[in-house]
């Protein structure tokens, strides 16, 4: 097959802009067949190779127009990075920080033997961190859904469970309530994400496993009756310890997913309406 530099460069540029598609090889193969078919006809008609390439590429449309056309017709059901998924990536990294803050604040509150006033302040800060972290985790889950063009029944059930888990964080001491909901929801979402093969595997695994490990740790510590028993028959160190274990796994997972989502070039960048550019 003859090599035509302008066509080759164009296809390389189109591939870069379409790298987010799982079927990028098929898209490029189809574009190449189109361009070479058109080029061969022009050259057979006596046109010079350079002029023929320029004419063929001008008719095909610039790579951004073509890539945007794919995104514009494909956001319903296609795995497309968008400005929203990019923002969801940033939300994931902030959520990692807030989850970490929540664990540190609660653990400090339990271990440090602080005065009542400081104790209450830390509890309030911990609660605010938890609600913020949980809310941003919902944004991440929505972002993962959109990035994959939907996550199917398993991902949808998981997303609903995550949403319920976030609502349950408002009475934040009910750790097993929101913990179990988030554990089940995030595990299902992560399994659905993993099945699609786009997201980084280690980060997806950490995201899915974090609260399952956290809830399991809570159960084990509770059965073993670790720590001092308080006047309500509870073991106050159990919950913050289990949460810390969960967060140690979750935070890197969120950062990994966040870097992936925020590092992609959105396909819905402002650009001329694809068909209007004709």
């Amino acid at each position: 097959m003859a090599s035509y530099q302008l066509i080759d460069d164009y296809l390389a540029g189109l591939r870069r802009r379409m790298a987010w598609r799982a079927d990028v090889d098929d898209v490029i193969a189809e574009a190449e067949d189109h361009l070479r078919s058109a080029l061969e006809l022009r050259i057979a008609a006596g046109e010079a190779a350079g002029a023929a390439q320029q004419a063929v590429l001008a008719r095909f449309g610039d790579p951004t127009t073509v890539a945007t056309a794919f995104a514009a017709t494909g956001t319903g059901g296609l795995a497309v990075p968008t400005r929203f998924t990019k923002r969801a990536g940033l939300a994931a990294m902030v959520a990692a920080g807030l989850w970490t803050a929540f664990a540190v604040l609660w653990l400090t509150d339990e271990l440090a033997g602080l005065s009542e006033r400081i104790d209450q302040s830390l509890a309030l800060l911990a609660m605010a961190s938890l609600v913020g972290a949980a809310a941003l985790t919902v944004v991440v889950v929505v972002g993962l859904n959109r990035r994959h063009g939907g996550l199917g029944p398993m991902g949808t059930i998981g997303s609903v469970l995550v949403g319920l888990g976030v609502l349950a964080t408002v009475p934040f001491w009910f750790v097993m309530g929101w913990g179990v909901l988030l554990a089940a929801g995030m595990l299902l979402v992560a399994l659905a994400v993993h099945a699609r093969g786009l997201a980084p595997t280690a980060a997806t695994a950490a995201f899915g496993a974090a609260w399952t490990v956290g809830v399991s740790t809570w159960s084990v510590l509770r059965v073993l009756e670790v720590g001092t028993r308080d006047e309500w028959g509870d073991y106050p160190i159990v919950s913050p310890t289990a949460i810390t274990v969960g967060v140690v796994i979750l935070a890197p997972g969120l950062v990994g997913l966040g870097r992936w989502l925020s590092g992609e070039t959105p396909a819905d960048l402002d650009s001329p309406e694809p068909l209007a550019a004709a």
Binding site: M1, D33, H34, A38, G61, V66, A69, F70, E273, A278
Partner: protein
């Protein structure tokens, strides 16, 4: 004709062209251009997302082959595509007839 004018009608046009027999993307574009008397002129690369979407919706099917050392995807109309085409064609004919009744029944403004 600007591509914007084709928006909303592109599916009907593409299904109509493929209904004439299986075609690869370049042939679809050429058939569209020649059947319209070169009136439809849009960036050729932008028909692929539309073909892709019609395939996802089950209105078109496609097969890959190797021609002159390169991969080629050829589209064909599916059973559902045939039904959708008939439906869209009938909707288009009704629309055109209604527009003609309105436009044809009104005298053209005099130009001086």
């Amino acid at each position: 004709m600007r591509g914007q004018s084709l928006k909303g009608h592109l599916d009907l046009l593409l299904l109509s062209v493929v209904a004439g027999g299986p075609k690869h993307g370049y042939a679809v574009m050429e058939a569209l251009r020649s059947a319209s008397g070169e009136a439809f002129d849009l960036p050729e690369g932008t028909i692929y997302p539309a073909l892709n979407r019609l395939e996802r919706e089950g209105l078109l099917g496609s097969d890959w082959s190797v021609v002159q050392g390169r991969r080629r995807r050829t589209y064909h109309l599916t059973g559902r595509g045939r039904e959708a085409l008939a439906e869209q064609r009938s909707g288009w004919e009704e629309f055109v007839a209604a527009v003609n009744r309105v436009v044809g029944g009104v005298p053209w403004p005099a130009t001086s």
